[in-house]
């Protein structure tokens, strides 16, 4: 195993390997509850990502081996696979992963130069382009499919009985006429172990463990995950005065991509803000936007949009929070004036 380094690891391969290792508990839990579709997605997305990376690098006539060995394409593949619906057909995974790498990364010259998070860009592109597949093919963890059923979904004929909308979506569409008590009679709540939502509770816990390990390893700092999760808890708590009309706090926290994103998506060092204060602003921004888009927007899980929006805000945040080098610029912080 990797020892706890005394200083933050600078080398890309080490960082990527740590993040991939930290995702293992999440992948295992997801597979247990949501079936082998998770693994199909994973293999497809990683293969597509690596192939797209190889294609782009060789088209530009650059050296191939160092790019493939740094694992960054594979990590993008894993992240996009874990964000997609578990009963996604193969073409959706291929398109999402391919567009992440080609449009999100190599259009801007490859590793370290992308202004937005490639995985979230791929996700958002698919959500707009194939909204039916992206919103209806989520596996209901109470009816985990076997290998056969998962394969059938993978080739494009998902069984309606196994799939549906996400929990966040159900709150927006189906639970509207119910009281909070009636809504919590949903089998996904009554079967849950930790009182959250069946299946999602263990997945969230697994991502949390992986994420905490990353902080312990000093691969990521606490600012981003704490910023996002605290903001999400505070704002959803603030607005859930009337439990009959508001989606409960724990659903916001556990049912969507909240914890996964807090540790593995927002922490992308390239497309986020750079200073600790900037990262905190970035994460708080994502939290606020997520709440408002989830509550009032047209598309269900808002993490991807919020991350993209804050990615675009990151350079401006940096512009105003970056510690200035003394003597180089007159540093009137926050005013931007010259």
């Amino acid at each position: 195993m990797i020892k706890r380094p005394a200083y933050p690891p600078r080398d890309t391969v080490t960082v990527m390997r740590s993040v991939l290792l930290a995702l293992i508990p999440g992948i295992v839990t997801m597979t247990i509850f949501f079936g082998p579709g998770v693994l199909f997605n994973l293999v497809t997305a990683v293969l597509t990502a690596v192939a797209a990376e190889a294609l782009c690098v060789s088209l530009r006539g650059r050296a191939l081996r160092p790019r493939l060995r740094d694992l960054s394409a594979a990590l993008t593949g894993v992240l996009i696979a874990l964000s997609l619906p578990q009963a996604a057909p193969w073409w959706l995974t291929v398109a999402a992963s391919g567009s992440s790498i080609i449009l999100g990364k190599h259009l801007y010259g490859g590793l370290g130069q992308n202004p937005v998070n490639p995985a979230m860009l791929g996700y958002a592109l698919m959500l707009i382009s194939a909204p039916v597949a992206m919103t209806t093919l989520w596996i209901n963890p109470l009816t985990t499919p076997g290998f056969g059923a998962a394969w059938v979904a993978y080739v494009g004929q998902a069984n309606d009985a196994l799939t549906g909308a996400t929990m966040l979506d159900l709150y927006r569409t189906e639970f509207l006429s119910l009281t909070a008590i009636e809504a919590s009679d949903h089998p996904l709540f009554t079967n849950a172990h930790l009182g959250f939502i069946y299946g999602y509770e263990w997945a969230a816990l697994a991502y949390l463990i992986g994420g905490l390990w990353l902080i312990y390893q000093r691969v990521i700092t606490w600012h981003t995950p704490v910023g996002l999760l605290v903001t999400l808890i505070v704002i959803t708590g603030f607005f859930s005065v009337d439990p009959d009309t508001a989606t409960p706090v724990w659903v916001h926290l556990v049912a969507g991509a909240g914890i996964f994103a807090a540790f593995f998506i927002l922490t992308d060092p390239v497309s986020g803000a750079t200073s600790p204060r900037g990262r905190l602003c970035f994460a708080i921004g994502v939290g606020l936007l997520t709440y408002f888009i989830r509550t009032y927007g047209q598309y269900p899980d808002a993490i991807a949009f919020s991350v993209l929006l804050m990615n675009f805000a990151a350079p401006t945040i940096d512009h105003y929070t970056r510690p200035r080098i003394i003597g180089r610029e007159s540093s009137v912080k926050g005013s931007g004036g010259r």
């Binding site: 259009l107 130069q113 202004p115 888009i293 047209q298 929006l309 675009f312 350079p315 401006t316 512009h319």
Partner: protein, 193 residues
Amino acid sequence: MTDLLLLIVSAALVNNFVLVQFLGLCPFMGVSSRIDSALGMSIATTFVLTLSSVAAYLLQSLLLIPLDVMWLRTLAFIVAIAVAVQFTELAVKKASPLLHSVLGIYLPLITTNCAVLGVALLNTNRAHTLAESVFYGIGAASGFSLVLILFAGVRERLQLADIPEPFRGASVALITAGFMALAFMGFSGMTRS
């Protein structure tokens, strides 16, 4: 009051003037290579946009409708905008020469910023009242300013990137603006009007 605030949110985020309604793209692409110049352009545009919203409303309700010459609308509005820009320039010059040296260069550009004429036309198309016109103008201007400044920040960063040759310059800028429009689609459907 809530309605008026929603009008701002709608014009600034949900139906962002630049990224959703495609207005004011020329300055958006032209003046967004640095945050500081974007900031100057934003302030100047916000001022003129609000002023011309009011001017267009008055022109329409005091002149065009009573005389029943609505078909002269385009002609009348563009003249009003040109006058508003000229007026702003003079006023700023008198009030603060310092401000004029900062904003002066942006002012002539604003006459042909289609967002300014666009906001006037949309106000009349949607039969906005005076208050609604003003708030719609403010919303449009803040939406324009927001994306202009954010995009300038992104473009400062892109200048350092090793972009593949055919995509350099306008191509990558437009595609990135497209991704920004994609992110703004998260806001779609937020105001229910």
